[in-house]
């Protein structure tokens, strides 16, 4: 939506094109190595206590450590070692997720070099101050070559600005005072002209600062769903404490001596360590996936809300249709041939630099191979004016005009010609189809009509079909009249549309949807969008938009691409699905672990319990150790899944659920039997038990 001043150089590399978000391999050594160190630093109990599940594992490790010191033995030490590794693996998962964000933050920090600002003094004088000292309300001057020192609003002037530092888009954009293009961001570079900027951000609160802390995960707060899940996991941990502790007296009653180390091992195996270990990594990675798509969410809450969205409000222009209307058809009237009309249309559009004008030339070439031609010296371009509502060309004695049908009709009548009878019908049917008719006349004769069409983006219909299968209603917002809107809406396949939309109508629509209990997401960029952005549950502001819009929304799209809303919804859903799937997996794993450990615990007292050892594990100690090793290794094995997210497909809720229950529920039930048996075979082979 940005107006491009000049055809800037193409993005220098793929990396830059993706902006701040450099996509990294899952096991990039730049991230893995520091993460391994972090994994040990995070062993601090004050850090661990925030995760109830892993805290219990840490306490358990201390208990088995004491046991191992008092009664040293290979088994006790092995269990202690693996329990310790379980905690370390969990920390590692979190550290890797954070590391990916931190790497991005570092890139950003380098950009936010120590800039000097040219602060305007009240007496119109100038003073050079460090950018960091700027306060809200200060005025600064930026000229070509200067870096914008902080976030602000242009109050005077117009300039082209290179925003590649934050968007990765190297084509410069126009920023000017007044209107919806007045916001500038700290760290971007002014390429031409001079502007006066009023600083709108507090110190340390600039967009760049917020972005750094967001991608770093420093300002990460647990999201509502994550809190609810943490409570459920804590409950599952609490319940297993008495279950396991009670085995001491139960065993005593049965005449069995129950080993404390095995009890701790059983406890750790039963509590949901898999999801407990990966929960925060999943959350961080979810934000990270957004950043990789150049979207900044101001809170994790917003990301979750995106997954819950039931109604999407989408601006027609730029989201559903390409920005401009394009010539799609030449419709001759009377006895005129189509090629004749195309030829005249092309002539009339040669000097027309608007996208609509260019598209006429392109269409004429496509259809009839009419090339651009040299006009003789005797020609005069007639530019479009708001009063004539026509443009054209006087050349070779011909007066060719194109424009609004009414204007052209009037002009032809003035020239002494007549209006062909079928013109009105064609104009009307073209309008009804959602297109704009342009009449073309050569002197006193009306040749026909050029149909200018809103071009619906390729693939958008399929996206909307997917949304529908997910239960999301799409509503197109447009300033067009209801007739045109209806035609485009049906072509694009949206569920509903709001025509002749005013900011008030938008706001009312959002409120109406919300009253029905729906969550609404929308995109916007103008100041007049701000109330609607604030009212919507998910408001995605375009980075090119005004500060007011960006502050009202809870996400900012750095690429200013409204279609991104669809991606955001998917990421939100994927986040929840990943958590749910791993929780189910974690709980389902318990069954196999019981079958490994319970016979091992009591086989001395009741040899008949050997029948429960259905995996045929070698010995009680190898059985317990295998279960604990499996429990630790599964965390490492699932880190990639946690970071990448469960694969998301647009399917109905029932299909998604069936699929996930099958993979993570039933799979989680069966898989550990196989893996515990394998580990046991390995331990037996190396005689480690």
């Amino acid at each position: 939506m940005d107006r491009v001043v000049a055809a800037g150089p193409a993005p220098k590399s793929k990396e830059l094109a993706r902006g701040v978000a450099r996509s990294r391999g899952l096991f990039d050594p730049e991230i893995i190595v520091p993460a391994a160190g972090q994994a040990f630093k995070k062993l601090d109990p004050r850090v661990q206590v925030r995760n109830p599940v892993m805290f219990v594992v840490l306490v358990g490790t201390v208990v088995t450590l004491v046991e191992s010191i008092v009664h040293p033995g290979l088994f006790d030490w092995s269990i202690t070692g693996w329990l310790f590794l379980t905690v370390v693996f969990a920390n590692f998962a979190e550290a890797v997720a954070e590391g990916r964000g931190r790497a991005q933050a570092d890139t950003l920090r380098k950009m936010r070099s120590e800039t000097e600002a040219r602060k305007l003094l009240p007496g119109r004088g100038e003073e050079r101050v460090p950018a960091a000292s700027l306060a809200k309300g200060d005025l600064v001057v930026c000229e070509a070559g200067d870096l914008v020192p902080s976030d602000g609003e242009i109050i005077e002037g117009i300039a082209s600005v290179d925003e590649s530092a934050i968007t990765g888009e190297s084509a410069p954009v126009i920023r000017e005072s007044g209107g919806d293009r007045s916001a500038v961001t700290g760290g971007t570079k002014v390429l031409s002209d001079r502007i006066v900027v009023q600083i709108t951000a507090e110190r340390g609160q600039t967009f760049m600062d917020r972005m750094i802390s967001l991608v770093e995960g420093a300002s990460r707060q647990k999201t509502p769903n994550e809190i609810a899940l943490t409570i459920l996991l804590a409950a599952l941990t609490i319940i297993f404490l008495p279950v396991v502790v009670a085995l001491e007296p139960f065993g005593h009653y049965a005449g069995a001596n129950v080993s404390v180390v095995i009890l701790v091992a059983l406890l750790v195996c039963l509590i949901p360590t898999t999801i407990g270990a990966l929960l925060s990594a999943i959350g961080i990675a979810g934000m990270d996936r957004l950043v990789q798509r150049n979207v900044l969410a101001m809170s994790g809450r917003a990301v979750e809300a995106a997954g819950d969205t039931q109604t999407l409000l989408l601006d027609k222009t730029g989201t559903i249709t390409l920005g401009n209307r394009m010539a799609s058809r030449f419709i001759p009237v009377g006895d005129t041939g189509e090629e004749e009309l195309a030829d005249a249309s092309q002539l009339a559009s040669l000097a027309d630099e608007t996208p609509e004008g260019r598209s006429v030339v392109v269409l004429a070439k496509e259809r009839f191979n009419i090339r651009e031609r040299e006009l003789g010296a005797e020609h005069l371009f007639i530019p479009f004016t708001a009063t004539t509502r026509m443009s054209g060309l006087d050349f070779d004695g011909r007066k060719i005009r194109k424009g609004a049908a009414e204007a052209v009709k009037r002009w032809v009548v003035e020239q002494g010609g007549a209006v062909p009878p079928d013109l009105d019908t064609i104009v009307e049917s073209t309008s009804r189809a959602g297109s704009t008719p342009l009449a073309v006349a050569d002197g006193s004769k009306i040749l026909g009509v050029i149909e200018l069409k809103d071009v619906v983006k390729e693939g958008i219909r399929e996206r909307f079909d997917q949304m529908r299968s997910l239960g999301i209603r799409t509503v197109m917002i447009t300033g067009d009249n209801p007739l045109t809107a209806a035609a485009i809406a049906s072509e694009a396949g949206v569920d509903d549309f709001l025509a002749e939309a005013t900011p008030q109508a938008k706001l009312a629509l959002i409120k109406h949807e919300q009253e029905g209990g729906k969550l609404v997401a929308m995109t916007g960029d103008g100041t007049n969008d701000a109330p609607a952005l604030a009212q919507a549950d998910v408001g995605v502001a375009m980075n090119s938009g005004t500060t007011a819009a960006k502050e009202a929304g809870n996400m900012v799209d750095l690429d200013s691409n409204p279609t991104k809303l669809l991606d955001i919804v998917e990421i939100g859903k994927q986040l929840l699905i990943t958590r749910g799937a791993l929780t189910t997996f974690s709980i389902a794993n318990d069954v196999a672990k019981y079958f490994a450990i319970i016979p091992a615990l009591f086989v001395a007292a009741y040899p008949q319990l050997k029948a429960l050892n259905i995996m045929g594990l070698h010995s009680p100690t190898s059985a317990v150790l295998s279960a604990v090793i499996f429990n630790a290794l599964v965390i490492i094995a699932l880190i990639p899944l946690a970071l990448r997210g469960v694969r998301f497909r647009a399917m109905s809720a029932a299909q998604i659920l069936r699929r996930n229950v099958l993979i993570y529920g039933v799979g989680g039930l069966i898989a550990p039997f196989a893996f515990i048996k394998l580990i046991d075979l390995f331990l037996t082979a190396v005689r480690w038990y």
């Binding site: 509502p224 769903n225 609810a228 409570i231 459920l232 409950a235 609490i238 319940i239 297993f240 008495p242 279950v243 502790v245 009670a246 085995l247 001491e248 007296p249 139960f250 005593h252 009653y253 049965a254 997954g307 819950d308 039931q310 529908r468 997910l470 239960g471 999301i472 209603r473 029905g516 209990g517 729906k518 859903k573 986040l575 929840l576 699905i577 958590r579 749910g580 799937a581 929780t583 189910t584 709980i587 318990d590 069954v591 019981y594 319970i598 009741y606 008949q608 319990l609 429960l612 998301f648 109905s652 809720a653 029932a654 998604i656 659920l657 069936r658 996930n660 229950v661 993570y664 529920g665």
Partner: protein
């Protein structure tokens, strides 16, 4: 009667009442029925209650707790003063303090655990004025809580969940009393005893034996004992005593009465939330679990007694008949006891202790699932709704939406309360069983050594913690230790679940309803039924597997293979 015919007839009768009693109860609790207004109004005046004034969940729960506390004290007083009170033709003395305490708690919590023999301990006044009254009231309390939770799901942005006193009174007047009166007549006709004339002395000249036969107004108690899923027998032998359960017909009616309200409440639920299929989904989960448990137990009992088989007897054509009435046979007996243990009733017509290890395990584990198959009156519905909320939470996450049940978002507060309600019972049972098996006072109670003795202790706390009240027998529960610890289990198993459930009702009632869409995880489908079953089994199995493996499982393994 043929076992399968019995089941078919039972299903047919229950299907009828499911539809009609279910919609009638919805009408009762939505205040659409008022033909007993002449009885209701004076009752409210007596209680000093304004029936129009609704309560917040805190006030609702407060009223419930205060009422229950007063009832426990009242019962305790009546038992202690029994010797000096009228209505005592057998001249029974005061009930001992610990036993009075245990029994008072037991009947107020709808448990009806009995550490005594009714006929030799309780006077007619205690039976009628204390126990029978509580059989009605405690049942009505259970339904009231379930209805309050359903209201929480139905209402939008409401600060109230109903009026406890109104729900209590209407449940008794409109549901429990009319059904009890009708069926008591049938029981009397079949030969159940109903008299105030006191015990009779019989002199059997032929054998030279003098016998005192206790009698009492018991037919009228019998119906509400079953209908209210109470289960406390007037006689120690409970449903095995011909004066209580005289014929095959009364045996059948008993089973029907036990099941009718818990099952019909799923219709009431569906009706109140405006989609009967929601109720069907829960009923299906209850029925499938119940069917599996009944099938396994009946099969195990049909195989005969493993100890008898081990002694060299090849054929036991009548199945395991130890501890069973020859009037009913193993299949009808198993049906009765499975129904009774899976509904928090706890009445028995055969000795649980004498079931095969697997049969006994099914009785035990049926309770361990949390009494939801279909569970006690009201308590079955509210407990399965708690499981449904947990299932919705997991299922909702797996489809990528903030989980919602019937349009109500399930967020941290709801999960917290549901988890609390689901955890109370297992923790209570396991901790108390651990204490009992560790302390000499606890070990002294068990009759048998080894795994069977352990099962006796485990069963006692599982039964009391689930407000079931059936006894495995073999355990001497009338000791200070078991009277007091059992009462703790019953109180926690009842009120520590009811309070979070009411809080859940309050929180849900205050929420807005989210519109459903194709992306909403539907809760009226077989898939959801499967998920609820999964959650019930997983929570039950994961918490009780170690304990059960040290009891019935190892006992069965000692006798031979698993099946």
């Amino acid at each position: 009667m043929n076992f399968f015919l019995t089941i078919l007839l039972l299903v047919a009768c229950l299907a009828l009442t499911w539809r009609f009693l279910g919609s009638y109860m919805a009408a009762v609790y939505e205040g659409r029925v008022s033909f007993l207004g002449w009885l209701e109004r004076p009752t409210y005046r007596l209680l000093g209650v304004d029936p129009q004034r609704e309560q917040s969940w805190q006030r609702y729960a407060g009223a419930l707790i205060v009422y229950s506390g007063v009832a426990i004290l009242l019962l305790y007083g009546m038992f202690r003063l029994q010797g000096s009170l009228p209505g005592n033709p057998a001249h029974l003395g005061a009930v001992a303090p610990a036993l009075s305490w245990n029994t008072a708690v037991s009947f107020v919590t709808n448990t009806n655990w009995q550490n005594y023999s009714g006929e030799s301990t309780m006077s007619y006044l205690s039976q009628m004025g204390a126990l029978a009254v509580q059989n009605f009231v405690s049942a009505s309390v259970g339904i009231a809580v379930a209805i309050a939770l359903v209201r929480g799901l139905v209402r939008r942005e409401s600060s109230t969940i109903g009026n406890f006193w109104v729900d209590l009174v209407r449940g008794i007047y409109y549901v429990l009393l009319p059904i009890s009166i009708v069926f008591a007549v049938i029981f009397v006709a079949e030969g159940a005893i109903q008299t105030l004339a006191g015990p009779v002395s019989v002199h059997d000249a032929l054998n030279g034996v003098h016998q005192v036969i206790p009698r009492g107004p018991f037919a009228s108690q019998e119906v509400i004992k079953q209908l209210g899923t109470n289960g406390g027998g007037s006689y120690n032998a409970n449903g095995a005593m011909p004066f209580e359960n005289p014929t095959g017909l009364t045996n059948f009616i008993s089973v029907f009465l036990i099941l009718t309200i818990p099952i019909s409440l799923t219709y009431t639920f569906g009706k109140m939330v405006g989609n009967v299929r929601q109720g069907v989904a829960l009923l299906a989960a209850m029925t499938i679990l119940f069917g599996v448990w009944l099938g396994v137990a009946t099969y195990a009992e049909s195989q005969g007694n493993p100890a008898v088989a081990a002694a060299g007897v090849k054929h036991q054509p009548g199945g395991n008949m130890e501890g069973k009435e020859s009037r009913f046979g193993y299949s009808q007996s198993t049906l009765y006891n499975i129904v009774s243990t899976q509904t928090s009733t706890g009445s028995v017509d055969s000795a649980n202790d004498s079931y095969t290890p697997i049969g006994g395990m099914m009785l035990l584990s049926g309770m361990m699932l949390g009494e939801v198959t279909p569970g006690g009156v009201g308590s079955g519905l509210y407990t399965i709704l708690v499981f449904a909320i947990i299932a919705v939470f997991l299922g909702g996450l797996m489809v990528g939406r903030t989980p919602e049940y019937l349009g109500k978002k399930i967020q941290s507060r709801e999960v917290k309360l549901a988890a609390l309600a689901a955890l109370v019972m297992p923790i209570t049972v396991i901790v108390l069983t651990a204490i009992a098996s560790a302390l000499p006072a606890g070990r002294a109670g068990a009759l048998n050594a080894g795994p069977h003795g352990f099962t006796e202790i485990l069963y006692a706390f599982t039964s009391q913690g689930n407000n079931n009240g059936s006894a495995f027998a073999g355990l001497n529960g009338n000791t200070a230790f078991y009277n007091i610890s059992g009462a703790i289990a019953m109180l926690l198993g009842r009120f520590a679940i009811i309070v979070p459930v009411l809080a859940l009702a309050g929180v849900l009632a205050g929420k807005q309803v989210v519109a459903a869409s194709a992306g909403t995880f539907r809760t009226d489908t077989p898939l959801f039924t499967g998920l609820v079953i999964g959650v019930i089994i997983i929570i039950g199995a994961l918490t009780f597997f170690p304990a059960v493996s040290l009891g019935p499982i190892v006992e069965q393994l000692i006798h031979g293979r698993f099946f």
